[in-house]
């Protein structure tokens, strides 16, 4: 049973801001509802006024603009992202990450913006957005601001969003040319589960030098980009030494917990295994 609720479905951003102002922290945005309704049922979520944003046309945007990048509106479903051949080719790390979220049926409702606003440490789209250096466009009655995704998450299920603010869209800039992106996710079963550990990687050439970006899910209170590991890979040495240095640094920066999906020790080991696997692939492909 869901708790007692109120519901509204504004058609414009202005109407949305009015509702948010009226209900403040009692209001919660409803898009796909695949996380929110479960949290309400479990009484984890305390909000009691749901604001359905699916009728707001402006939030439905999924488009790519050369130079600016990819814009993913707040109500764009995971299904639409997967069906985009452009995203599959230009942003493979994002496409692969989205592919692993939930199942085919959930993807008809679940949204990418919902995945980041829910701010689970296990949010699969987050590591991909971190290595792609995406920005989050936030709007409110007062105006708008744009925040890099690595400043967006502040804790387990916590973001920088303030009362009255809404994520309008995520903007994913052009990836470096000839880059290679992958998301490796370890699950208990092959079809559908939260990540025990997930690793997103982006490899590209800067001049002749191979550069990498690394970000993780399910290893810390928030999805985490580990720049120190990226830098450790960049320094001198044989390719094998560079990979092992990055693996060591990455494993020192994570702080995994034990839960139903795996122990902290197992997660720590997976961080090493998956980081090594990913870096080897990048060395081969990029």
């Amino acid at each position: 049973m869901l708790p007692k609720l109120e519901y509204s479905s504004p058609k414009t951003l202005e109407e949305l801001f009015e509702v948010l102002e009226k209900y403040q922290e009692k209001a919660k945005i409803l898009a796909g509802g695949t996380d929110l309704l479960v949290s309400l049922r479990d009484r984890v979520e305390k909000a009691r006024h749901l604001v359905d944003i699916k009728k707001i046309k402006e939030l439905d945007r999924l488009e790519y603009r050369k130079g600016e990048g990819l814009i993913i509106g707040a109500t764009v479903t995971l299904r639409r992202i997967l069906e985009s051949q452009l995203i599959r080719e230009k942003y493979p790390v994002l496409w692969e990450a989205v592919k692993t979220i939930g199942d085919v049926i959930l993807k008809n409702r679940a949204t990418l913006v919902g995945n980041i606003c829910n701010a689970s440490p296990a949010a699969d789209s987050a590591p991909a957005l971190l290595v792609l250096e995406a920005n989050v466009r936030i709007v409110s009655k007062e105006g708008s601001r744009e925040v890099p995704i690595d400043k967006f998450f502040t804790g387990v299920k916590k973001t920088i969003l303030r009362s009255g603010e809404v994520v309008k869209e995520v903007v994913v800039p052009e990836p470096p040319s000839n880059s290679f992106g992958r998301y490796l996710k370890m699950m208990r079963v092959w079809s559908e589960d939260l990540a025990i550990v997930g690793v997103a990687g982006l490899g590209y050439r800067e001049g002749r030098e191979l550069r990498v970006r690394l970000a993780y899910s399910s290893v810390a209170p928030t999805p985490l980009r580990i720049r120190e590991a990226e830098e450790a890979f960049t320094r001198d040495g044989t390719m094998e030494e560079r990979i092992e240095r990055a693996v060591q640094v990455a494993s020192q920066r994570v702080s995994p917990i034990s839960d139903v999906r795996g122990s902290a020790e197992y997660r720590l080991n997976l961080v090493k295994v998956l980081t090594r696997r990913l870096l080897k692939q990048m060395v081969e492909v990029v």
Binding site: L2, Y7, G33, R41, G102, D103, V104, I105, L106, N108
Partner: protein, 156 residues
């Protein structure tokens, strides 16, 4: 809690009802409209047994609010057959023994119909992928997959 008036089509029939905002689409189907083919089990989007078509696409009806379906079209397992005649897929489920206790069967039929409609000749991998949000605890999935594939081949 103020009730909202919603109008929608279910299995081709237009309905207008008043619902409280905390009721799910699953509740609307089973308790308000008394269509018991759609099953209630985990109520948290894991098992998929409450899956129905909403505007032609499968959704887990325990994760959709009834108030969200205002103006929409819904198809449940009761809406698949025409004039008492089972569909090819329903017949194939019987022929392949693709059910045992039958509790999950409505959801598999809904997703099977959706898949065959949009992709008349799916590969085995595509069938498996489409079904990965649904749980069956008795037959195993093999006869279900074979039933769906047999219909896709029949459409050659």
């Amino acid at each position: 809690m103020e009730k909202k008036k919603i109008t929608f089509k279910i299995n081709g029939v237009e309905k207008t009802v008043e619902v409280a905002p905390n009721k799910t689409l699953l509740w609307l189907i089973r308790e308000e409209l008394k269509l018991k083919g759609t099953k209630k089990a985990c109520e948290r989007g894991d098992c998929g047994l409450c899956t129905v078509l909403l505007n032609g696409e499968p959704v887990k009806s325990c994760l959709v609010l009834a108030v969200e379906v205002d103006g929409s079209e819904i198809v449940t397992v009761e809406g698949l057959s025409r004039d008492g005649e089972l569909t090819e897929l329903q017949k194939a489920f019987i022929e392949h023994g693709a059910l045992q206790c039958g509790f999950c069967t409505p959801a598999f039929l809904i997703v099977g119909h959706w898949l065959i409609n949009r992709n008349p000749r799916p590969s085995k991998e595509e069938v498996v992928e489409a079904l990965n949000g649904l749980l069956c605890r008795c037959t195993g999935y093999r006869p279900i997959i074979e039933a769906i594939l047999s219909v896709s081949k029949a459409k050659k």
